[in-house]
Symmetry: C2
Subunit: 388 residues, 2 copies
């Protein structure tokens, strides 16, 4: 009789592709053809969903995509129209976008080797991506992130999600997209808030992993505050690259362990978003979360005080409002347990112990965190009064 | 500026555990402690869902599990009661079981490192597994399959699913369970149909991969027909082992390619289940599908005729009814396209070209398949008239 116990260790191989370009739909732009080339011989269907705000700003996406395919990818056919989906957090606050995408995958006979393309901010990529990742147990996905946040962080990752039961990202999967294409042209039509808000994730990854990158952001913070597009582009690109490298080389792309450095500052950020019903947007909340945890790291003697102040000042100069009254909500600290529960295992918070360096801690001293909140408030208020 | 294009190849490592035992809840049975040992130090919560039919036959599961944990796994706590869920295909025909499981994961504060245990047939494992695989992007799962089919095939795999839009398994993910524990005791209370139906998957994998195993099944087919439990056990175990090895060593556990040998006979089986509104159960439909595709393989000169007849006779002697009028439904052949669409890419059907050997074909000759259906009908009818 065969053995009573079998353990098998096996690995699943993935390829993750990241591209930076301008005007991907230009008939002369080779990026789309190049990333799709390995799939030639596949059924060659492409089903496209786009953020309604993006379609308003870029109304020629559908005809240009059709022309681009005809000129460059004759083996690929568009399945139906480009479908508009609501953008922002509402895209993932219920099952409606998920349901719409899944139904169209079914009705358009999209198979596992066909493609779903999602064009939009992080929430649209999340909701469309979750449907594409679970229909037929996973259809190939092309992501075209359109916001600073999605191009520099969320769109690069291998996660998708919708919110449920009052919990952000309660449902989702880890799924490696076929390719992520960052088209810098989309950044030009963002609102000032959306243009700015993703820069916090660049500051985050710089603080943890790359001191030279932090120095650079600090140096050009004023240009970013003035919405200088040429200043933004290398920031987004380096941020995306660092997030991409973390997934490819960090050793735990599907987060089976508890070490989660890229969630620095996120325990309070997620809670702030919920406490303010998304009045504070993700990138803005992350700016606050980074500032707070940097000051906390200084208070517990982990990070030199001047480094914490540099982090706070850089974010402030870029234009982030780093204090919100929701920080004093007594339920803020529930965010720690929600963070632990969502990620699993032991509470693990990553903090910088120098600029460009990081360490994991497994508990948070509540009094010191409360003191860090007060400190953050006083830093913001003294600046406000000086400006006034 | 960082490069404009980055490709990263990376691998995600998984461990798959398979155990065979009898009475896993016996306080002296070490299997559960042993498979959970690597997780000690985790939050140690266990949330349990069981097939209502299984709970009726084994009403002491909940108190015995509690005692087992107290005696053997003091670091593990049961989250609430053992929850009963409907069994059979209805468990996965809508979102209700999924929703119930997900809500309880949320309310019981089950994190990614906690455990969901699913006890039941394949449909229960599928629906509970899909919820557990998407809540928090994947909670650890223990599978205790209770049917011949689930112990020998479905429960061993790394797939989960629910049905939607009239398509079997439309939604699902690939997710490696923490462990699969086959407790042979559960087989004793199965109905004769459920006891028998999973044997078809053993015949399937034997025909494709292991001629000695096929010879053995052929030899003891009469004992299986008489519901001889000692004859069944090694069959289930070898079938499970071959399916397990295919996942671990087959090179494509998440089915990113198109080669899908373990779906031999399944294109018509899935369609028969749908056409008969599940009157023909999965294992029974697979028996018909294997018989049909074996005769087809003989007709196109791939498989020696006497080998096809051996396959048909072995299934018949075990007790399978190998012909159903739904085979003449004109929509049967839509099953081929649905099969292709679900799996993705080019149509790829695996057929035996000898007992214990296999080859992929990429088209099906409709006339020959129709002739194979007639042939199967005549074989079954001649036997019926002889028996009458």
């Amino acid at each position: 009789m065969p053995p009573a116990a079998s353990d098998a260790a096996f690995a699943v191989a993935f390829t993750h592709r990241l591209r930076f370009t301008r005007d991907v739909l230009d008939p002369a732009n080779p990026v789309l053809s190049e990333v799709l080339a390995p799939a030639e011989g596949s059924p060659g269907k492409l089903l496209v969903f786009a953020d309604e705000a993006v379609l308003q700003n870029w109304p020629t996406i559908a005809p240009r995509l059709e022309k681009h395919l005809a000129a460059n990818l004759p083996w690929m056919t568009l399945a139906g129209e480009v479908t508009s989906v609501p953008g922002g957090e509402q895209a993932k606050n219920d099952w409606s976008v998920f349901e719409q995408v899944a139904r169209m995958i079914c009705e358009s006979s999209i198979c596992r080797h066909s493609f779903v393309m999602a064009i939009g901010g992080g929430a649209v990529l999340d909701a469309v991506g979750f449907a594409a990742a679970t229909a037929h147990r996973g259809v190939r996905t092309l992501r075209l992130p359109t916001t600073t946040l999605a191009q520099g962080d969320g769109g690069i990752g291998v996660k998708n999600a919708i919110n449920a039961f009052g919990h952000k990202n309660f449902f989702g999967t880890f799924a490696v997209p076929w390719a992520v294409i960052n088209d810098e042209q989309f950044l030009s039509t963002l609102s000032d808030r959306d243009w700015r808000s993703g820069i916090s994730e660049a500051v985050k990854v710089a603080l943890l992993k790359d001191s030279a990158f932090f120095d650079y952001i600090e140096q050009i913070a004023g240009q970013l505050a003035r919405r200088d597009e040429t200043a933004l582009r290398p920031i987004v690109r380096r941020s995306a690259e660092l997030h991409f490298q973390h997934i490819a080389n960090g050793g735990d792309p599907f987060e089976l362990g508890s070490h989660r450095p890229l969630d620095f500052g996120h325990w309070s950020a997620h809670k702030l978003e919920a406490l303010t019903s998304n009045r504070v947007r993700h990138g803005e909340a992350v700016a606050i979360g980074i500032a707070l945890d940097s000051l906390y790291a200084a208070r517990i003697g982990l990070l030199p005080e001047q480094d914490a102040i540099r982090a706070v000042n850089t974010l402030r100069i870029i234009g982030f409002d780093l204090y919100d009254d929701a920080l004093t909500d007594t339920s803020l600290f529930e965010g720690l347990e929600e963070f632990r529960e969502h990620l699993g295992g032991r509470l693990t918070i990553t903090l910088p112990d120098g600029i460009g360096r990081q360490v994991d801690v497994h508990e948070v001293e509540r009094d010191e965190m409360l003191a860090a909140i007060d400190w953050l408030k006083s830093l913001v208020e003294s600046r406000r009064s000086r400006t006034a």
